[in-house]
Symmetry: C2
Subunit: 222 residues, 2 copies
């Protein structure tokens, strides 16, 4: 183990497999404050993620100010009001998705009480075309975001990915004072969880893996 892992990151010693298999979106959190030092350590581990050409072209805005929260919370509500009927239609026969929608709605209703948010941004204002360029742009921010979420899980801190407050790039840029060359990507609410982390369920691996050509599924269980 190297010095970094022994010293500054003493709180993040959870075995990798345990962190991954018990990571889940935690949307209901307490209003109790989260130490700045912890938030900064989460971001520091995020920065260890890979970026294309090692460019590290990113910015992280830590949001605690009630006025900034209020304005982003309003954006979030506008989007949820539009999306809510679709979300409910999709969940009409699926209690699990209904529970997810309830949690999302909790996050919309209690947005301003969530103690801290991290807005992850990338340099550039790419339009995401062609796909190879989009993959390079988003592939240089989401590995960092996943590191942040896994580190939050190891620390027992609730977290999830929310894109809704940023649906209007223009509004989000104005609220956060972002220059044109910096694009907000996702907003991560952080707080001590109401509820628990725990194992998640996924489709069996053999159903989503092909060998050499799409559809050849030698590892699919009959």
């Amino acid at each position: 183990m190297n010095d970094d892992a022994r010293g500054a990151y003493a709180d993040f010693q959870m075995p990798l497999a345990e962190a991954m298999t018990t990571q889940r979106a935690i949307r209901r959190v307490r209003p109790d404050p989260v130490d700045d030092a912890l938030v900064l350590r989460l971001i520091e581990l995020a920065l260890k993620g890979p970026t294309a050409q090692n460019e590290q072209g990113w910015e992280f805005i830590v949001v605690k100010d009630p006025e900034v929260k209020r304005r982003l919370g309003r954006q979030n509500r506008v989007m949820w009001r539009l999306y809510r009927p679709i979300a409910h239609f999709k969940a009409r026969n699926d209690p699990k998705t209904q529970r997810m929608n309830d949690a999302v709605e909790w996050g919309v209703d209690h947005f301003e009480e969530i103690p801290v948010f991290v807005v992850a941004c990338f340099h550039g204002s790419r339009f995401g075309f062609p796909p190879v360029v989009a993959a390079s742009t988003y592939g240089s921010i989401f590995p960092a975001i996943q590191n942040l979420l896994l580190a939050a899980r190891a620390a027992g801190l609730g977290a999830n990915i929310n894109t809704m407050p940023l649906w209007s790039n223009w509004a989000a840029r104005r609220i956060l004072g972002l220059p044109f060359g910096v694009t907000p990507c996702v907003m991560i609410p952080l707080g001590w969880p109401i509820g628990k982390y725990g194992p998640t369920t996924r489709k069996p691996v053999g159903e989503v893996v092909s060998l050499d050509r799409y559809g050849a599924r030698p590892w699919k269980k009959a």
Copy 2:
């Protein structure tokens, strides 16, 4: 610790912080084979990553067939020949980036000898606009990819993200037999490393973090 972490994933017990702080792109790997069972476990941990609305709309193609490798290797060479002069110009005063370019070139030259690749794909053929949609699409595949890379690091297996072989979506789709509704995103070469994992260096966290509004940097060291 839950059963998953104790049993099936016994090889991935490295502390989270150590995996993150010693993850780096490994491009030079030996031609020795990698067990299918290990590759599948990496993908299984990838599947634990979050997806928007928990849709799990992904596909993973494990590539071992020499003919499929040869055709993707040719795509990779076409792109590298175009990009090489730019990469070398960018690195002209920077020995570290020159070393990275050398490693990339090694990967281009030895593409067919790399024992196995994983091509991560997502459902849909989004054009990545508006940014909020692109964030949702790519944010539902790159957390999985980062899980795969971290798990490879914990297993001591070399890995990195390569988008070049997929620069032509049309060609990649044809080579891999992907239907129109499945978009190839990145290609991950896997193999036992020539060279070592080890700590990476990054900009200090205070230089990329703002409080409440962009540019307010209370944690920047003078």
